[in-house]
Symmetry: C2
Subunit: 220 residues, 2 copies
């Protein structure tokens, strides 16, 4: 058996901080000081430091004043870079997934889209966010290339805060996003790699338009 009972404290803290940043509970520029966090989690600075370094390497934190870590501030040009790169890479995944996914994987993907229909009907953006993540993750893993999957996930994590905010802010985005998902799904089920590629690129581009507009409004 290889049941891991021990969970590394640092990873728990890392995951929790990621959650807070993604959900917007911690905003850009917010302090991530070691001592308060250590006190909050009831541990010493050591595992907290580890988590913060991991966050920094993942691109979710950066060095602020007094060398302290703060939640990473992302300006509009960087956001555009991130979404452009993400769009290309997820499109790549979609093309490969259309050609490589197993029958079971295709079935699961279709089920996820079905389930998301319900969330859209109810206007439940929290549920939709989760299903959206599952949809994209399923496609990236369906490309059957672990290196590409991992590389894409890093970018997805860095854009996640904005993508989540997008659903919270613009209720109409749920419907258009879901429609785009349907298009991607159909292309994948039809094993049409080029169509899947195009559809995914368009989908991410649509997100980028909304997100950069939001970011500009907030800044201006």
């Amino acid at each position: 058996m290889d049941t891991k009972v021990t969970v590394r404290t640092a990873e728990v803290i890392y995951a929790e901080l990621v959650r807070r940043i993604v959900e917007g509970q911690l905003g850009p520029g917010d302090a991530l000081n070691e001592v308060p966090l250590a006190a909050e989690f009831g541990v010493s600075r050591t595992p907290v430091r580890e988590a913060l370094q991991h966050l920094s390497i993942s691109g979710l934190a950066e060095r602020g004043p007094r060398r302290a870590f703060v939640v990473r501030r992302t300006d509009v040009p960087m956001l555009e870079d991130l979404f452009e790169a993400l769009g290309e890479m997820e499109a790549l995944c979609a093309r490969m997934a259309a050609l490589r996914m197993t029958a079971i994987e295709r079935h699961r993907l279709a089920a996820t889209v079905e389930e998301a229909d319900g969330a859209v009907r109810d206007g439940d953006h929290a549920a939709y966010s989760g299903l959206n993540a599952r949809f994209h993750a399923a496609i990236c893993s369906g490309a059957h290339n672990r290196a590409l999957d991992a590389a894409t996930q890093v970018l997805r994590m860095r854009t996640l805060p904005w993508r989540e905010a997008q659903f919270r802010a613009a209720a109409a985005r749920l419907e258009s996003s879901q429609a785009e998902h349907r298009g991607i799904l159909e292309a994948i089920l039809a094993e049409d790699g080029e169509a899947a590629h195009r559809a995914m690129r368009g989908h991410i581009a649509a997100s980028m338009l909304l997100v950069t507009r939001m970011a500009r409004e907030r800044a201006g």
Copy 2:
């Protein structure tokens, strides 16, 4: 002024360990124990730990027996994943670079290729390795997308040990590699994105063939 006098010890150690792994001084599975490394660098375990965690996140180290870090072992299927992903991403960079590089960047890229001609003539694979790295880095940065550049560099780092070994092992690879570089360069100078994409994909695929063959021979 923001001249940084202080160099973070952990980063120095990280860079040194990366160098050793890339140059083959440290091979797959070799132990990366904290105490001996700390003694060698004349510091305590703390900064060494930091460097090792960074290595682990970068994909160059993994957990071995007794929870200790060891140099990551990469099997042939993973190698294929890495090269496939790298090929697609560098091809993406090449396409974008063909359309976006400035005149100065194009000029520098051409100069790098010229200089590499000399290394090929002399059969100096160490020099060629360096120029090869410069060539690829120039194209990735020439795409003018920092996120894509960063994502690609992570993959390049993980394949670097094998790509270096390739030049050391197969002298003929220098010439074919250089010929492929010329093809990529010409497409970029002609601002032909699609040709650059194709040429780069082919170039990485050729590397993959050689490298996986080497890996299989070594294993079998």
